[in-house]
Assembly symmetry: C2
């Protein structure tokens, strides 16, 4: 197997209302089964998912948590506004969003935006991914997979990695169950979260600093399926042992 | 940025004592700064890290846990032999290995090996990675990064992904702290675990089934550093909030 991956270069800084997909279409000659990976930050920007810190009035709950974190209570208020449940309050806020996504600080970003503003995650990234996929098919005639990413910390290991927060045009997991391994043993347990393996690698290619590029194309994997199935990668809360442990804290 | 990645094709089935690195050198024209990613399964095989299930006598502790899991107590005994601490006993065994790596079932594999045998993780994968890196430099004159992977589950999300369990020739995390973002804000928190973003993508390329290929080359990232620094990606247990929550269960 041989694949290639490249960043979509020379995109301008993205602002509210910008036609990001048009800009990508202008710069990429899509092929069938390409995977287009886009950072949620630029999706949020085109949608104007931005809050002014100065406009936020913190609640008593936000002030209580902020004092544990030595954090701006207005930032904590924004985190609370965006989540359904706080699993850990300190030394960082680990929260569960309405769609089941568990992340630090509700995925709110203070970098990649002007000082004094907060960038909020898009409301329904899989819907946005489906719209982008449909438009690329309409305008370029190509069947592509679209993945929208965020960076997130993880248990037990240092550092953040890119994960998918929405997608269209693929099954998020490749289920090897029932297939045979090299020795003819039937595989009974492996369910590989290929969506996050792709999201992570694309995140690495995007970069975070001043030379960041928010869109990446991966070509040659051929994982395309004409499905909307992103939610399969979010573990059902009733089956989550670690979530359960955190709720008992 | 443009990168390419390819599997090392036509490797034979690997057995104890095989010269895996020689086989890879025969098949790949290395370039400077290539990243060679190898599945721990084949490293374990060359080292003979295999146990016969029939030879294992389960302890009372193994029998107790096995009854909760509806699992072969000899398998559980092998898991206990390979770990320092059991964090979760059921519905799956989440354990902490001596080197700090937290994983399911001590990383023991029952697939990718003959029935009746267990494949055990290599003892010091970073040492093995360093030896491989050194040999490639000696024989091909190329500076490469070597990463050894395993597949592992993760908190909150469905499915397994590839993670690094050892490496040589890179810093596992890219630290953006102190750099500026697109708006000139100084980044204060981002520390990206690029090693696992690479490991995951390579794992996807390797596959798990009968057409699995255990070695992948990634070309174009240029993350090479002449360092042995893998341990930086394992979170210090005193700083791990989720580990702490599991210990209180």
């Amino acid at each position: 197997m041989k694949i290639e991956a490249f960043t979509v270069d020379d995109l301008p800084l993205i602002s509210e209302g910008d036609d990001l997909v048009g800009m990508i279409l202008d710069r990429v000659e899509f092929e069938d089964f390409d995977i287009l990976v886009i950072a949620s930050t630029v999706i949020s920007k085109t949608m104007g998912k931005v809050r002014e810190i100065a406009d936020i009035t913190p609640s008593a709950e936000a002030m209580r948590i902020a004092s544990k974190l030595d954090e701006d209570p207005r930032f904590v208020e924004a985190v609370l506004d965006e989540c359904e449940e706080v699993l850990i309050e300190a030394p960082f806020m680990l929260v569960r969003r309405e769609d089941g996504h568990i992340c630090v600080s509700s995925g709110i970003d203070r970098s990649n935006i002007e000082a004094g503003k907060l960038l909020i995650l898009p409301q329904d990234p899989s819907k946005t991914a489906a719209e982008i996929r449909s438009r690329i098919f309409d305008e370029a005639g190509r069947k592509v997979t679209v993945i929208i990413t965020d960076t997130n910390g993880r248990a037990f290991r240092v550092g953040q990695t890119g994960v998918a927060i929405g997608a269209s045009g693929m099954s998020p997991c490749k289920n090897w169950i029932g297939l045979s391994d090299l020795f003819g043993n039937v595989l009974t347990i492996t369910n590989e979260a290929i969506i996050d393996e792709i999201a992570g690698f694309a995140n690495l290619m995007m970069g975070e600093g001043g030379d960041g590029t928010p869109a990446v194309i991966i070509r040659g994997l051929e994982i395309f399926e004409d499905v909307e199935a992103f939610d399969e990668v979010i573990r059902d809360e009733s089956e989550d042992v670690i979530l359960d442990a955190l709720r008992r804290l």
